[in-house]
Symmetry: C2
Subunit: 365 residues, 2 copies
């Protein structure tokens, strides 16, 4: 790759492979695939999904929804509890596209009831164990109360119950991911049954973070999945058990600017403003900000005994016990870092380059 500064490289082949894997799974289960676009935030990568027949998307902010609406997407879920201060922007959006909103409080329902000018679909946000957002799945009384309120309000079409089982990120193998998946489905289906008892017969279920969408096969009891990270994957997903290293579709290309023989370290131009400060801990408890890829060939090959051990704003330190790698790496070379967190890395970089050198903007950042 011909580059002189930190550059985020994406393999379109791998991205398409990753998309098709989940898409086929959704089709086999007869459910809607509504990918989360916060990972790439790119109109162009969005098109790679659109040509495969994907029509519904998820985003994490009104700003992102506006951007993808402008790019022609017409069915958008904003997967964060409604920020009522943005009501005017939501009205503008709802005029043009099928907008799906997340609600979890009576206060918000009341505000929307008063201020919504166009019809939107509403999903009740359910907490199935992550405890970041949503109403506890078993607080049936509270949930049904909000549902009733929504049901009676104008411009709000009660569509279903939605959860983000983010605690799947604590899993460390496929068995643990499947356990979260089954528990999530179980809770959501139980809640759906409760709704049926109250006469709500057509409520849909929306689930599907990257770990469970990647690993589980049976989604027959839900109506849609919304993974995001899977387009690129990253080291965090490998650690969770969602994917293999070979499936990670991005690398941060960084110029080598110094070498330290005594401590077998290589300094690169590339730091926290490119990779973010997310890290994983390896089995020895070391903080890892990235691993190193031998090359940009499609076949992944990680440099052994080598990792990004420290980052500051624009400096990255690569520590190695691999003499061969250390000796052959020179100042002025380019090193390819496999990122820990694809979403934050892409957000930091705001643009990518394909292997053929084409620049792709994270337009909706």
């Amino acid at each position: 790759m011909n580059t002189i500064e930190p550059t985020l490289i994406v393999s379109k082949n791998l991205v398409l492979k990753n998309i098709n894997k989940i898409k086929n799974k959704a089709e086999k289960n007869g459910i809607r695939f509504r990918p989360h676009f916060k990972t790439h935030q790119s109109v162009e990568i969005g098109e790679w999904l659109r040509v495969l027949g994907i029509n519904c998307i998820t985003v994490s902010s009104v700003r992102m929804a506006e951007c993808f609406a402008k790019a022609g997407w017409i069915d958008i879920t904003i997967a964060i509890p409604v920020n009522i201060l943005e009501i005017e922007k939501m009205n503008e959006l709802a005029k043009k596209v099928q907008l799906n909103l997340l609600i979890e409080s009576i206060e918000t329902v009341r505000t929307l009831e008063e201020k919504l000018k166009h019809s939107v679909k509403v999903w009740i946000n359910i907490d199935t164990g992550y405890h970041r957002d949503g109403i506890e799945w078993n607080e049936t009384y509270k949930i049904i109360q909000i549902a009733t309120h929504i049901h009676n309000a104008k411009n709000m079409h009660l569509t279903g119950i939605l959860t983000h089982a983010g605690h799947s990120y604590k899993a460390r193998n496929r068995t643990e991911i499947i356990a979260v998946h089954e528990d999530t489905i179980n809770k959501m289906v139980q809640l759906q049954e409760e709704f049926k008892r109250e006469g709500y017969n057509n409520l849909q279920i929306s689930v599907g973070d990257t770990p469970t969408s990647s690993v589980a096969d049976d989604f027959s009891l839900v109506d849609e999945i919304r993974p995001g990270n899977f387009v690129f994957y990253d080291l965090k997903q490998v650690q969770i058990g969602s994917c293999t290293e070979e499936e990670i579709a991005i690398r941060l290309a960084c110029p080598v600017i110094a070498k330290y023989d005594e401590r077998k370290e290589i300094l690169v131009d590339g730091g926290a403003i490119h990779l973010s400060k997310d890290f994983i801990l390896d089995k020895e408890g070391r903080t890892i900000y990235g691993y190193i890829s031998q090359s940009l060939d499609n076949e992944f090959s990680k440099v052994k005994d080598t990792y990004v051990s420290a980052i500051s704003q624009e400096h990255g330190t690569i520590k190695t016990n691999n003499n061969n790698f250390f000796q052959r790496t020179n100042i002025g070379d380019i090193i390819y870092i496999i990122p820990v967190h694809a979403c934050l890395t892409t957000n930091s970089m705001s643009k990518l380059k394909t292997l053929s050198g084409k620049e792709i903007q994270a337009t909706c950042r």
Copy 2:
């Protein structure tokens, strides 16, 4: 503050106070104040410094140097070991401005010797204990060898020795900061003496990270200081002992989108893409992504028993044991987060708003 989405607020008064504190110290010591602009990356905030008589600046990338050169800055140090792949851009810059480069290897000297087309000032990058970059301060033979090479090369004017004592960030009080400061000065002066013995009589010394520049008073033995973070300060600097909470000049304004009575948590629209994922550990070992400010009044007042306990891409979780604060905070309110790391927060946001509502772009991001 009238805002509907995560917005980075800056108090110009506090920024000017922070600048003047360091500026006065530099003047008292009769040394050059060369602030690092990577923290704000803003042409406009640069002007706040320029009107105070500051003419020399530090940046951390060629890209940033180009941007500030375009804004009229004519004496710029790129404080990261030279990335030789960017030689053409450096030549363009050196044509227009007084460019100062950091060198720490013979390989890089050789490349520059061959490819530099205009005169630049060169600083030898010294490691005084941080062990991120630079040549170990006591590797005198190696240092003098590089110096001689630079001295004999055309277009390279050997100007001095430079260090970033980043290990001052491990300090936890003023005494520990002063210890790093004195040790740094001591090592740099010893090295300067070695140079004098070799006939290099006019080599300057450049030091000065934010902790030591903020706390130490005696800089009489050095020639310039290059702190950056001090313009804004942050919780990390408070923990180090560089500043008080009252000196922190920025806040991230975030809309409240949910409340959780059972666990006394407040969810805001605002997460890792706004604050970065940098954190501090408090005395109880808890991970803190930010504290909360009562208001935007100049007089700082932190909300007691309250902190940002978790962040994901766009969600921030605020945990509180402060019943009063919890009760009076409602969905749709704005909460002001005091950031952990001002540089990464500003880099993530890419724009700020003054207390009077004026928008400021981090133009050189």
